[in-house]
Symmetry: C2
Subunit: 100 residues, 2 copies
């Protein structure tokens, strides 16, 4: 299992229709891509530098790779992400295992 | 519900006994503090700047505040976190709600 998370800040004004659209319709487009599960949209309320988060899980690397090259994801990145996101940090997590 | 997450890198050598101790015994100390649930330790395998993550949930702000001032947490921060963590970023999340 891989938990893919992206924390980001949008170029849109807080509470604007454009912000809502990105966090609802935009998220829904990504969540519908095959292999994506447990897609969550969150608001960041702590000390971190970004205001929102998309998080989603994949069963493994094959599903994650398929998502990355899926046309819906590529179009989302090229059109919405490239123009609406001001700054972001991407973290991917796997459950911890002792490595020695 | 508040999901408190901290992504961090340790001063310890990868795979060292000190690294394992922080990620197991250290994590267990925090996870046992009242009000903490769904405590997870993860390895970061993406593009983010840190190698590990602790994540935990609180039912609300009161439980989170109680954790912050709990003696076990304060001792952990003063002794282990202050000396074993090289760098970190803290993000706290709440489920997204439309704000307009």
């Amino acid at each position: 299992m891989i938990r893919h998370t992206v924390c980001f800040t949008l170029v849109h004004e807080a509470g604007s229709a454009e912000e809502v659209a990105f966090l609802t319709e935009g998220a829904a487009d990504l969540a519908a891509i095959p292999g994506v599960h447990d897609f969550e949209v969150a608001r960041q309320v702590g000390k971190g530098p970004h205001l929102f988060q998309f998080a989603m899980s994949f069963d493994g690397r094959a599903e994650y790779d398929a998502y990355n090259v899926h046309p819906v994801h590529q179009e989302f990145v090229a059109t919405r992400w490239a123009t609406e996101v001001a700054d972001f940090t991407e973290f991917d997590f796997v459950p911890y295992e002792r490595i020695s």
